[in-house]
Symmetry: C2
DNA sequence: AAAATATTTGCAACAAAGTTGCATACTGTT
DNA sequence: AACAGTATGCAACTTTGTTGCAAATATTTT
């Protein structure tokens, strides 16, 4: 496991540091999306806020994690499961945010539908975020 | 026009104040979504930041405007055109954010498609935000 | 394995965004 | 015109995110 994590970092031309390994591990362990604050908490504030910001940013650039837009102005991150690479994200799946427990799921098997836009609009990517009650809270 | 604006406020049981009228007018004049900062600028900073925050919050509660989720952690607001009321929003249309000019459009005539969620997930509302190149920037 | 080089980290200082309490000003009502 | 209710602006504060830089750590070279 520890080795797997290091492997992923190396594959992405990132030097293997404690904070990066730990944060990446958190994402692999978690079944749901994580916010910056979640990471601070789950690491017992062992790492500086700035380091976490920079790590998340790096991971997004490398195509290791993707961001999830939310209505309440908080940024969430989750592992990319598709073949995302440096600068080329391809996470065209639906996200679900539970109104009760707040958990955010990547529904990897539900792909975002084609949307018929008006003339003149050329889509580059489409985000679909559903909210409601999740399987654990019903 | 001025009277229309006052009418809308009264209809929503809001007292008619200069800032509320001006901000609501801005939304009616604008063809695109507005951020808090846009409103500060377009009003020449005549109103306190706090007043703008509180006005936007009030308008959202009353169903006069709705928020639009964005990937970059900025909150956008736009007029509700459907029959939204106090606490009951019904803005099930697609939004489009232009990667070039940054303009955010409510595509009022494009309704969000039905999404087939996995067993156990009950959707309450669904946000669809497409991004790409808009009609003005192509 | 040690030295040299490249990269990352943590700190400090800052900037931007959002919140709260309270006195003053304004709106709608009597 | 006076009153009661509400909204505004200010100050003070919190939370979130950014930047420069020296010290620490990781990788490469010898
Ligand atoms: Mn996802
Ligand atoms: Mn809209
Ligand atoms: Zn839940
Ligand atoms: Zn555009």
């Amino acid at each position: 496991m520890k080795n797997d994590i290091a492997e992923i970092l190396k594959r992405n031309q990132l030097s293997v540091t404690e904070s990066r390994a730990k944060i990446l591990e958190l994402f692999h362990e978690s079944r749901s999306a994580l916010a910056h604050a979640d990471i601070e908490n789950k690491t017992d504030e062992s790492y500086d806020r700035v380091t976490i910001y920079r790590t998340l940013q790096t991971f997004v650039e490398k195509g290791i994690i993707h961001t999830i837009p939310t209505a309440d102005n908080s940024v969430l991150y989750a592992l990319c499961k598709d073949e995302c690479t440096q600068g080329k994200h391809n996470d065209n799946h639906v996200h679900f945010i539970c109104d009760i427990c707040g958990t955010t799921y990547c529904l990897d098997h539900i792909t975002v539908p084609e949307i018929n836009l008006p003339k003149g609009f050329t889509p580059h990517c489409t985000d679909v975020v559903a909210s409601g009650i999740c399987k654990n809270c019903k």
